[in-house]
Amino acid sequence: MTPVLTVLVAIALAAPAAAGIVAALGERAILRRLAATLAVVGVAAAAALLGRVLTSDPVRLGDADAPLAIVDRLSAVVLLLSVGLSAIVLGFAARYLDGDRRRAGLLVGLGAAATAAGATAVAGTLASLTAAWIVTTLAVIWLLRGAGAGRAAGTLLAGDLALLAGVAIIIDRVGDVPVDRFGDAAGSLDSGIGLVAGALLVAGAAVRAAQLGGGGWLIRTVGAPTPVSALLHAGVVNAGGYLLIRATPGIPGEALVLAAVVGGISVLVCGAAVLTRPDVKGGLVMSTRAQMGFMLLQIGAGAPAAAAVHLVAHGCFKATLFLASGGAIDGVRRTRDTPRPLGAGTRPALTAALVILPALAVLAVVAVAGNLLAATALPVVVGATLLATRAGSGLVERAAALTTGGAAGAGAGIAVLTLAYVGFVEGGIAVLSDAVPEADPMVAATAVIATVGALLVVLAVVRSLPGPRRRLAPAAEALYPTVSSLGRPEPFRLPTRRVTPLPGAGENRPKRQRIRAQVARAADVVPPLWPLSTFVAVNPFGGFDNEPFEDGMRRAAALYGADMMPSAHQLAEAWRTGQITGADIDAALARDLPETAVPSDLLRGVMLAALDTPRPTPAPVRSRAERLAPSAARIVDREVADVVACWLDDRAGWSPPARAAGLYASWRHTAARDRLAWRLGVRGLRRAVAALPDDPAEAIDLALARLGVPDGERDLELRRQMARLPGTTGYLRYLATHSRGGPSIGVMVELAAVRLSLEALLVPDGMGPDTPPEVPDTTDPVDPGAVLRHAGRAGEPEAAEAARAAIPPERRAALWLGAAEQAFRRRLLARIDALPDEGPPRPAAQLAFCIDVRSEGIRRHLEAAGPYATLGFAGFFAIPMRFRALEAPGATDACPVILTPRHEISEAPAPGEEHRVAHRSRRLRLLAAIEHAAHRAKDDPSSPYPLAEAAGLPMVVLAALRTSAPSAAARIERWLARRLAPPARLVPATSHRPAREGDEITIGMGDAEQVFWAEAMLKAMGLASGFARLLVLAGHGGTAANNPHRAGLDCGACGGNPGLPNARVAAAILNRPEVRAGLRERGLDLPDDTVVVSALHDTTLDLVTLDLDGVPATHMEDALRLQEHLHAAGRAAAAERALELPGAPRTAEAAPAHVRARAADWAQIRPEWALAGCGAMVVGSRELTRGRNLGRRVFLHSYDQALDPDDAALAVILTGPLVVAVLRVDGGARCLRLGVEDAAQRHRRHRGARGPGRRYPHRPAGAVGPARRTHPASAPAAARGRRRARGEGGAGDLPPNPARSPRPRPLGEHRGAGRHGRTVV
């Protein structure tokens, strides 16, 4: 039997590492399958081992006194946990990291860490356990490279040293004992030595479990890729608990008391800190620390078996939460669109009784019958009670949503949850108690546990009752600064030890006003940044739109420290492959260079030679603090990003004090009391913060004076301050300028005041004057010889010199960009200028799609499939509305961001659907209440521990399903959603409602307005006659799972929302006889037999679905035929698109299934390429482009000049859709590359387009970001990545289009661009 068991252990241990290595070999399907198979084999082996030890005695492999491995029930369970979770995490990571440069290294590291963690569990002797432990640490440090590895590594290794010392003492005294005699061996030591060894073990375990001061390492890892976080929190931190569980019988009681005290403090403090964290991952980190504290508490209580059960359940729970953290933004959208809870309810007491009492009653019966009231099982009963009451009270808060039956059902559900918890814990303890005997705790440990337990119960009660909660508010306010700073990333070292307060100054109000205006100007360099739930990009160079393009780029590059132009390598490649030709370079030079007598071949020679030399970069703009004390500037970035995120997060359970008084006042309140000074090791900071002036503008003035910024440099200093954290600044600007109920634009002054005050205080006072600026190197890197060589000439150095002088080095990159754009324009025009294809004389249907480039493919395929005509129009279909889902609390501005919504339109039941809609509404409310209750139980300081134990296993099963079979999981989820809340038909409520007091906006639309907008739409898209029987308006949206950037796939013309509601409203309006009559008066005669149908174009699935419900019987046959053709066109479009998706099959048959699986995959961060690579907009008739493959890179807006004699419609297109299209060019690239950052981790690393910001995509903070605004050079990179994905020279390939992000220009300039005739490119 032993050889078989040895093989099983070897397989279980080797499987994660082998799976990691195989997955790291590449992204091909066969490698993925092989890696998955290896991982599953490992899980099977671990499960078999567990089965073996559950049914018979523990297994010892190798020598009895120095076994290679020991597999008892505890180690088998922990081994299965490590191997099982690593299988899920590796499967997730293999897709999540696709295209990432670090993919191979991370996958190998993940496998190695899991293998080492498994080896820790089954290690035979103390020495081998310690060795495996240290290997795990090294693997973790490898995984954290670039994500806080430096200081995290230091702390982890210090913890390992403590462990090593403790183990060394034990080995020195009693030898290298088998692990299962570890406790006895430790117990046999002299009391003094034993205590020292025990304390060292506790210290080592506490560091690994991120307790107290040793927990900082875990906070620093929040920037790690999501799968790494999942493995860290589920498989690595647990080792601390595992070690102590093993050692418990022998560890002196005093050391256990120490463990209990450490754990108790973590439970109370870290559990409370969860409430202050605005970012999802930050909250999970604090939660892990609290959960590990709970485990130490259990160990201290002499209940190591219970601790082991918690270890397993929490590992499953936390791994799933981390992997699912990208879904937070979906949660925001769901909350916004789900019917709001109805008032306070009429019988709250009855509802509460129905919800909570069943669980308590069942619990009482079980406790008495099962003798759970014994002292050791009492915590389980208390935990179950806390879980039931917390979840129950969460439900009662939405109580009015529950009918009596609903409440009783919910009560039954909570009872089941409570029973599941008790059953799991008691069953787990029974299974593990053989391997882990209970110990007798010391009285002190029991006292600690009782105190912590009592405090948790009191906290739960206080938080539930409004009265006591109010009375304790001052205490909460006093505690907030200390608790909240626990969750902040650790600061850097600072070159100062003492902070001197800023000197006071007399009041000078005009000066304050000037400073306010200066800040407002400076803030313009960072355009507004929309929240992730309605992801809209704006021109990242928007702040430079008063300047010529090249100058603006140069200034932006200096300010952001980023090169804006395509790389020399990219351009050289385009030149080598002939995508950019000599004629393109000549054209760019002729257009953008002043006239010169130098021959064109020499000028071209300079351009080509420039590709071989380093490109001159503008001197970066740096703030005064960056120059004087860079570490202080970095600390300020971290602190300010976090302070702003906390201040903005209105969903946090515990908000900063003085929040309503504004950002600056709130920060002063907190910073005058928090632990920053302590963490930095400086004195006087709190006092100096308290002494700052009340007025933010005055604080800016004082700070600038302290930093020695002369008046002439203030503008630049302020701009750099704003550009340091573009995500934070941009989001505040969005709130101030585009959100309802947000702060005023004065918040920018407050932001500058916080930043500058902190910088002025942290930069050592009296630092010497600034070093003189470096003199830039003006040597031309291009060699005249190279110019001649590239020009194909010889021996004319003077001519080469003249050519070099004609094109200054700093202009060459921009001229190359011009050449690249010229190449794109040339090829595009060559296609468009070919003979127009007039299309079918009388189309069976006309379909208006959004101008979005993603419509181009499906339009082309549909037109090829049947007698159809397609049109392009901005996907909001001229409906400037704010849309509110049925009875929803929130509404979205479903129109372009440059337009203010004029009408609020909500949903209403379709005729005859009232009952079904009401039923669905009730169900949605109930589901929302359950979700709310789960969140309350998860985030509350009192209940997450039992919740983790109750929910851990079911959650990990779901995670395994979502990872191994994403399509099946999605089907099950959809089926369940349909069962739980059966769909019902809704229609837009367009009719006008008279204004009431308090209305912010017109509700509905009057007839005249409906006619007005309908006319605007039809005329702007050149559709005034020749209407087909079916006119389809197709709004578009994307599908993605667990993806915070999902809104980036939706319609930009609808403000980053799905376009279906707009299409439905527009169709409903156009079908109204009153509107048709009005249109007829204006010369737009929609025939009576024309039916307007709305549709949804899902761009991720290439699926256009008609709203067949609204189609009359007379048109149904046509509509069904069209639907069939749409499906066929979608399949063809998917096949074409799949060629460019990394890891997609290359066959047309497999493509549709692949794009569906991709959209459903929770590990997939790039379900589609969205707008990456888009490069042009054609405004004109479809005849110009029909039948031409434009590679889904061109916006197509329909337009008919004959209908527009005064150019009014053209003006509308050029000032509206064109501007939005330009915004989307940036946005498309951005949503692919953007790494969400809680800007605290402000790394300046940027990856190629195929590795878009994946290191942070799961760090939504406070439901909104702050997101890191992408490096503006990302768009060319995105284009590059997409080209690489499709393979060079692919059919229909247009040259690279390094996004140029033209500013929205005044009307006159666009008119000038119209000289190409009807086509504006």
Binding site: P510, Q513, A517, T1215
Partner: protein, 119 residues
């Protein structure tokens, strides 16, 4: 208007029970109107009238007033009435704001019947 005329004007208005105040009209880019209003607010001005979609002719040529699908790139006109002591603050802010961008403001005397509205 000479000093004497001004005095006469003021007397005439006082006879109508009207009080002299300063009127500031600001024409700015639509995207700057929030900053303009912040300057007014932080100077203690208690109210103003804002017209979006303003148009006209000036240094940069014609500026279209009404763009159907774009409220963002039009001009805005803000009119505020204030006592003289607030004027200094408003002017200090507006001057600094328009240092690097287009935008104009005009200041004139005006008379109001309910001065407490604007204090």
């Amino acid at each position: 208007m000479s000093h004497r005329d001004e005095t006469t004007e003021a007397r005439r208005m006082a006879a109508h029970d009207l009080v002299r105040m300063a009127r500031v009209e600001i024409v700015a880019r639509g995207k700057d109107s929030a900053s303009v209003q912040d300057i007014l607010r932080s100077s203690g001005v208690t109210g103003w009238t804002a017209l979006s979609q303003a148009g006209g002719f000036g240094h940069s040529g014609y500026h279209e007033a009404r763009l159907l699908f774009n409220d963002h790139d039009a001009l805005s006109l803000t009119i505020a009435i204030m006592p003289d002591e607030r004027l200094d603050l408003v002017l200090a802010g507006l001057r600094a704001l328009f240092e690097d961008r287009s935008g104009v403001f005009f200041v004139a005397d005006t008379y109001v019947s309910r001065p407490e509205y604007f204090a």
